[in-house]
Amino acid sequence: MKTKLPKCSDVVRHICEQLDADINSRQCRQIKRHLEHCPNCRAYLESLKKTVQLYKAFSPPPMPQRLLIRSKIRRARKAH
């Protein structure tokens, strides 16, 4: 019996929730097959991965006044 492949909307929903999921489950194998034939879902998946990568790569500026903050924490602790 031929298994019905998931629709684009199902694929998008799945990859949005399971971006880093195990790709060997039955559902993931179907998603993988869909992705092989669908440039739209591939483009969506890549853009979603890029979104996460950009936020991961965004390094915060160095922490300001580190020593002052440590000393404030010490003072607050002693006053407690």
Partner: protein, 205 residues
């Protein structure tokens, strides 16, 4: 290895000594975790002064509550809960927003895709351009990333940062926010979709 796992290295004996009032042990605790608290706070509030203030408030709370930490959860999970409470208090709100999140339609997306004469799907969803990451990320993009994430309701934002940026497992995120795992997954899915839509206009090739 997630950033939190990298920091899960302060010995349990240090935690115990700090809880008993040992000044040097507590200083070790602050030195060991201040970067994690600062980075997480910054990712959530996108403001370095507010993030630094959160570091201060968090460790004062840690000192007050450390005796209550029973070691049943990971220390980082407990610590994240305190940071989250501090972030929320800075917004003068006692609890998480229960806001809905409106996500716009995806450009070029059709559930019945267009096909060429051979039956091959024609790409209608634009690909994104190649963008260098981190050190050479331009200020326009940085500003866009800030604006986009600040539009997310706080509970969605915290889920996204903990799960995707800090690399915490969904189960730990659920414990920090006192949500169910399916609720965390649902917020994560919507947060990712929302941020992707916010960046799309700038990022499309």
């Amino acid at each position: 290895m997630s950033s939190a796992q990298q920091h899960e290295r302060v010995e349990p004996s240090i935690l115990r000594q700090a809880a008993e009032g040992d000044e040097r042990a507590f200083a070790k605790l602050v030195h060991g975790y201040e970067e994690l608290v600062y980075r997480f706070s910054f990712q959530v509030c996108r403001d370095r002064d507010k993030a630094a203030e959160t570091v201060q408030d968090t460790f004062i709370n840690v000192y007050r509550k450390l005796k209550q930490f029973d070691g049943r959860s990971k220390f980082t999970t407990w610590l994240y809960s305190i940071v989250v409470n501090n972030c929320l208090m800075k917004r003068r709100r006692g609890k998480l927003q229960q806001a809905t999140l409106a996500i716009g339609p995806t450009e070029g997306f059709r559930d019945e895709p267009l096909r060429d004469e051979d039956g091959q799907v024609i790409q209608t969803v634009p690909s994104w351009k190649e963008t260098p990451l981190d050190s050479v990320m331009n200020s326009e993009l940085k500003s866009l990333l800030d604006k986009a994430i600040l539009k997310l309701p706080m509970d969605y934002r915290i889920v996204f940062v903990l799960r995707d940026v800090e690399g915490q497992p969904a189960e730990e995120v659920a414990k920090v926010l006192k949500l169910s795992v399916p609720a965390v997954k649902s917020r994560l899915r919507r947060a990712r979709m929302f941020l992707r839509e916010q960046l799309h206009e700038y990022m499309k090739a």
